[in-house]
């Protein structure tokens, strides 16, 4: 699993990667009450806002950690947004993307580097 400074995670399996937000992000957002996911087929560039999570207080964009086409979204999430708080780095995944540039993964933080980054916040 790799991480961004915007607190998204990405886990690649072959040329398909699963995306979500980190436990830290979920904790900072508070209880998630609404989620907007991209449509399947949407083409993402690294850094694009591709989903929205909303708490009682505010709406926050979720940015694509890597580039690629959306091949699947977590269809259960909009009806159970609390999953993002309960299991952000597992069942609370957002989308699966067919990587268009797998080398982008190398620029992201690994778990140890991300935890080091969190300790500076």
């Amino acid at each position: 699993m790799r991480f961004t400074k915007d607190h998204e995670w990405v886990e690649a399996d072959g040329d398909v990667a699963t995306l979500g937000i980190t436990a830290y992000a979920a904790e900072q957002l508070g209880d998630v009450v609404f989620i907007e996911l991209p449509s399947v087929g949407k083409s993402l560039k690294a850094g694009d806002a591709f989903a929205v999570v909303e708490s009682v207080k505010a709406a926050s964009d979720v940015y694509a950690p890597i580039s690629g086409d959306v091949v699947e979204v977590n269809a259960e999430l909009p009806d159970a947004p609390e999953t993002v708080n309960a299991m952000p780095e597992k069942d609370g995944w957002f989308a699966k993307v067919k990587l268009s540039n797998p080398a982008e993964l190398d620029a992201l933080m690994d778990r140890a580097a991300y935890e080091q980054f969190l300790s500076t916040l």
Binding site: G30, D31, V33, F34, E36, V52, E54, S55, V56, K57, A58, A59
Partner: protein, 386 residues
Amino acid sequence: MSDTPLKTTPLTDAHRAAGARMVEFGGYDMPVQYADGVLKEHLWTRSHCGLFDVSHMGPSFLRLKTLSGDAKADHAAICALLESIVCGDLRGLKRGQLRYTLLLNQQGGIIDDLMVGRPVGDSRQGTLQIIVNAGTKEGDFARIAAAAGDAAELVRADDRGLIAVQGPEAAAVTAAIIPEAADLSFMTLTPAEYEGERVIISRSGYTGEDGYEILVRPGSARKLWDRLLQDERARPIGLGARDSLRLEAGLPLYGHDLDETISPVEANLEFAISKRRREVEDFPGAARALGELAGKLGRRRVGLRVLEGAPAREGAEIVDRDGAVVGKVTSGGFSPSLGAPIAMGYVPPALAEPGAALGVIVRGKRQAAEVTAMPFVPHRYHRKPA
């Protein structure tokens, strides 16, 4: 951004010790949420008892410099000064009664909304207790002092603690510590004692629930806060849930739902224009307000249920059936009690009736919305039996 250090309240240390997430609000360092988070804090207040630090607000006392000794005359004299800049009937307040009123500019626009109370005791007639909003208090205090001129002085009390206790169990929690609380009805106040210190307690609040606001000297605020929290029915609640609670209660937030261009009638607050003031037409902007009441109204604050999709937040456009923009959302979010998005905003009067079908634009997409009577969640104030 300014470099001015944030102001603190007598309870700031308590919030930090409790692990609250702190934000700037009205120039103060305030708790936006505690460990429970906004959703749970909101629901806790609706079912039990929430404690809110509202010490950032602006309590003050306006008092005549020279008393005649005739309590009734002194009350009338102090009210005449403040009534020149608000639309409420203050002279008609009974001892211990509290009234919501609006500070107006000469165009009849709302400068702030505030609570004015008449003290109980003989020795305090000729004084009014005034509580204004945090973000507007410097300007409000200057205007009130100017209206008072040489006849009265404005004594700020915004260094004190102001603790709101709200929810269906607020009465039981509060009366166990301050017995006088039990005898108050909605929109009344009384002085009381807590551990030998004078406090002023009113039955009022900003959540739609029964509850109190307790004004306490700075040195005793922390002790009272901690004492209230010893009751397991009471939990501390941050500004995040305060906002979602007041939104469900249909209560406007100054600087968002109200501003200096908006009149009391546009804001759907004409109840605050007291009968006597309406008849005498002696409040700022009276001609405008009375014209609006007679039908010359351009816009009206309404409640909206957002029937699909994401919460519509402040600034979202409101559209009619044809997609024409007819107004803007001034407050909006997710209602924890209803499990659905709700909002307030301004629309033309022809579209302001409950049931009117409208839309809101969220991230470029139209979502169906419907005008709904407010409050969204029924008020549960403790009113005196008629």
